[in-house]
Chain length 138, copies 2
């Protein structure tokens, strides 16, 4: 069953918004990095004494799904993306078919008002091979 994971909002200047959410609202910056697929960047924030996650989404101005403010997407984690995507798109149009992004498999649908819903399956890491002493230094 999908689990609501975080809220992503559009920002037009990532540094400025990180400053606002950390310095003025006291949130902690957990992660910041580029998103190759979009040419944009994201930051993850959380308040002390809260489990709520906020993602800031910055996109280049020519990115087709970009925006300057407002909701970007609501993210839900799922155990099996293909299964969830197939089930959810029985009664509504799928928007972006499942694809791989780093250690996630992602797909997008929309809610009844057109808000983007990201479905994400965390891919299991390949189990590391047991190292043998003689090959460790290669």
């Amino acid at each position: 069953m999908p689990r609501f994971f975080y809220t992503g909002i559009h920002v037009s200047d990532l540094d400025r918004s990180i400053d606002f959410y950390t310095k003025e609202l006291g949130m902690k910056l957990l992660f910041r990095g580029p998103i190759e697929e979009t040419g944009g960047a994201v930051a993850w924030l959380r308040s002390k004494r809260s489990k709520q996650l906020l993602e800031l989404n910055w996109y280049p101005s020519d990115y087709k799904y970009g925006g300057k403010s407002g909701l970007d997407h609501l993210a839900f984690e799922v155990d099996d993306l293909d299964e969830s995507y197939t089930t959810l798109t029985k009664s509504r149009k799928g928007e972006i078919e499942p694809f791989l992004e780093g250690s996630w498999k992602l797909g997008y649908i929309t809610d009844p008002d057109g808000n983007w819903i990201e479905l994400g399956q965390r891919l299991k890491r390949q189990p590391k091979k047991k190292r043998k002493s003689s090959t460790l230094l290669s």
Copy 2:
């Protein structure tokens, strides 16, 4: 220090959106009720195995802050609203001055992109008077 508390999104049909988020995305409806101040209504939802809170905000079409989709506001809980509001509005314009709503004191500012930030202080309930047996049944 403010604590990120939930995300509120605009919906144009509260029943339809509750159906989508509960039946299709498997969230649990925690609360639903009217908001006297706006003439609208809200619903609160959470997924099993997640602490993230989602609020659905429905407004009458003539409500000045209403909207049909997208972000309504990001809510932060604070310990002392007047103090937080005063501090935060030193460097930016306040939008809605502190006011009382039920068991909360609320105030609104905006982030650098104009997204609404709700600051809310949970008001302490008046301590109940010790009841004496002879007055209990009135």
